[in-house]
């Protein structure tokens, strides 16, 4: 590496021409070669559409109590039945997708991004900064995700922004760990030396030169975190420590009555779980194919 220290500043920052066309071609290639991933992506798109169009799609107000139709079986009026308050399960599922996506995206994007900045910074500065940051990360990594999130929710309270915070924090060190190991290799690249020789500041080098080059592991982490964040939100809500009634959230729908009446009204327990599994499944499917596509070592030979 030491021999190759030739400054190549013009190749560093200019955006390649025809970026949009390249993206389109890459997307087409992805759909063709990675069918499973494309299926995952399709489910994600549908999920987004459902969340956006929730007021149009839902036949009932998700929070409207109807004591005339408590624990009703699935029928034409209520396709997936009603819960113990007579609320329409399908409408609650549709509105619940908003909660899941909001918490899922909020927590995973923030967690993966902050972790990436810390990881790249840690690799770039090296030495003592790296050593101390690693020790702090070790401490956070010693807690199971759910335990740390539980403690944070107890401190912050359980509004949706606080839930996002609580789920995001345990993700930061996990992202930093992965990104740091990729960034260590990038730091040795000649273009980083070139940028330094050109007199750029540390922040600029980290954010504009190194960060874009860890995009592949970053995207892989992000899609993996998305599923984990949705699961964590569901778990916390199930424990009664996450989203609060009467807001529609999948984990919350599984709490209490759903278990009590599991025998007589199984639809209450089955459909929200299917919704959680299907959405996390889609994110994982997509993330997996993305990883295979981005990591040349894993391609079939």
């Amino acid at each position: 590496m030491a021999i190759a220290r030739v400054p190549v500043p013009e190749a560093v920052e200019a955006a390649p021409p025809g970026a949009v066309a390249r993206w389109l071609a890459a997307t087409r290639e992805f759909c063709r070669a990675r069918t499973l991933g494309a299926v995952g992506a399709a489910v994600i798109v549908v999920m987004f559409a459902v969340a956006l169009l929730a007021p149009v799609l839902a036949a009932y107000d998700p929070e409207a109590v109807d004591f005339g139709a408590m624990l009703a079986r699935p029928s034409l009026a209520h396709w997936l039945g009603t819960d113990s308050f007579g609320r329409d399960v399908l409408s609650r599922l549709i509105f619940g997708s908003r909660t899941a996506l909001m918490v899922g995206f909020g927590a995973s994007v923030l967690g993966a991004t902050l972790g990436a900045i810390l990881g790249v910074g840690s690799a770039y500065f090296g030495g003592r900064v790296d050593l101390y940051l690693q020790r702090v990360m070790d401490v956070f990594l010693s807690f199971p995700l759910i335990v740390l999130a539980l403690a944070l929710v107890a401190i912050l309270g359980n509004s949706i922004p606080n839930l996002i915070m609580a789920i995001m924090v345990p993700m930061i060190p996990r992202s930093a760990l992965v990104i740091r190991s990729s960034a260590l290799a990038i730091r040795e690249m000649p273009f980083v030396d070139a940028a330094r020789a050109a007199g750029f500041g540390h922040a600029r080098i980290v954010l504009r030169h190194m960060l874009p080059n860890v995009m592949a592991p970053y995207l892989i982490m992000l899609t993996a975190f998305l599923g984990q964040a949705i699961l964590a939100e569901a778990s916390l809500s199930f424990l009664g420590l996450g989203v609060q009634e009467p807001t529609a959230a999948w984990g919350l729908m599984l709490r209490g009555a759903a278990v009590e009446f599991a025998e007589t009204a199984p639809w209450m327990a089955i459909f929200p779980g299917l919704a959680i599994s299907l959405s996390v499944f889609a994110f994982n499917l997509f993330g997996d194919s993305l990883r295979d596509a981005l990591d040349p070592r894993l391609r079939t030979q």
């Binding site: 499973l36 401490v139 010693s142 807690f143 199971p144 335990v147 403690a151 025998e263 499944f281």
Partner: protein
């Protein structure tokens, strides 16, 4: 080698101290304390004086640094003190629950390993065939299904199909192994499925990588039968990363079964932790976190030793 091990060993202590400090600070940031909660029922009838006296009894009136120092010095002598809520010694509170959580974690690990290794190897050997796809879908589904929901589905199926419910009262293994297994096999299966998914994926990708190595080609070229190539050359080298994920997941399972324990009405460490947080039982929370994080840190250390022991390339670094 020795230098490396000693360094790794010594590094455990700052991490443990960091965990202790973080826990200590975090739980004191949670609004309210154990004294306030205990007398919350008869608000107003208890004078401020009594509350102060109670706080003094737990040492909560001391400056924070002194509370921390007292506690850490106690932990260093393996004395975790008494629960602030029940007054019982921490060890007595934790012992049975630890045994329960440990047993579920061990059983789930068995389920995971038995499923993961054959499936992962098979998927890697038949990469991009329908078998590979089926295994991948099965394992991605495992990652996607919340174990607590799977638990609910298990209970529901047992009820509908066999008109039978697993026992809801815990029997220790040494009292009646059969009763004990009848209850604990279900949470172990529910958790084990997710856990096996993690391990299957790791087995598959590790095998894929190893199968491309030159020594596998050499083994094939010299006419070794497939079974021996797999057992002696491929699996042996692919097992390291698999062992790592299995061990780390195991360490997390001991304290991380919070939600599944709730579904199966198991009085394990996870449930105890939720209760302790609700009661602001500082000493109990601290002890639980130290136990869970301690297990994780020690398992991590043992993994590093194991690596150095199994892989000579690391030993000579």
């Amino acid at each position: 080698m020795w230098k490396y091990l000693v360094k790794r060993f010594l590094l455990m202590f700052p991490t443990l101290l960091g965990v202790a400090l973080l826990t200590f600070v975090l739980i004191r940031v949670i609004p309210g304390d154990v004294v306030e909660l205990r007398y919350a029922g008869d608000r107003g009838s208890v004078s401020q004086d009594v509350l102060e006296k109670e706080r003094a009894r737990f040492g909560l009136d001391q400056p924070l640094w002194r509370q921390f120092a007292t506690w850490v010095l106690g932990v260093a002598r393996l004395d975790f003190g008494e629960s602030m809520w029940t007054g019982a010694p921490i060890w007595q509170e934790i012992r049975l629950r630890f045994a329960l959580s440990l047993q579920v974690a061990i059983m789930a690990t068995l389920v995971a390993v038995v499923l993961a290794i054959p499936l992962g190897v098979l998927a890697a050997l038949k990469q991009d065939s329908w078998i590979d796809y089926a295994v991948r879908i099965f394992s991605i589904a495992g990652l996607a299904t919340p174990s607590f929901w799977l638990g609910i589905v298990f209970i529901l199926l047992l009820l509908v199909v066999f008109h039978w419910l697993p026992p809801m009262i815990y029997t220790p293994f040494w009292v009646s192994p059969w009763e004990n297994l009848k209850q604990l096999i279900w949470p172990a299966l529910a958790v084990g499925y997710r856990y096996s998914a993690v391990a299957t994926r790791m087995t598959r990708s590790a095998m894929l990588e190893v199968l491309r190595e030159d020594y596998i080609r050499t083994a094939r070229a010299k006419g070794l039968v497939q079974r021996l190539i797999l057992a002696r050359h491929a699996l042996k080298n692919a097992m390291l990363p698999v062992l790592t994920v299995v061990a780390l997941e195991f360490a997390f399972l001991i304290g991380g079964l919070v939600v599944t324990e709730q579904v199966f009405n198991l009085n394990g460490l996870g449930l105890l932790f939720v209760q302790a947080v609700a009661h602001r039982d500082y000493t109990l929370i601290q002890a639980l976190v130290m136990l869970v994080a301690g297990v994780f840190i020690v398992v991590n250390f043992l993994m590093d030793i194991g690596y150095a022991w199994i892989d000579p390339r690391i030993r000579y670094r």
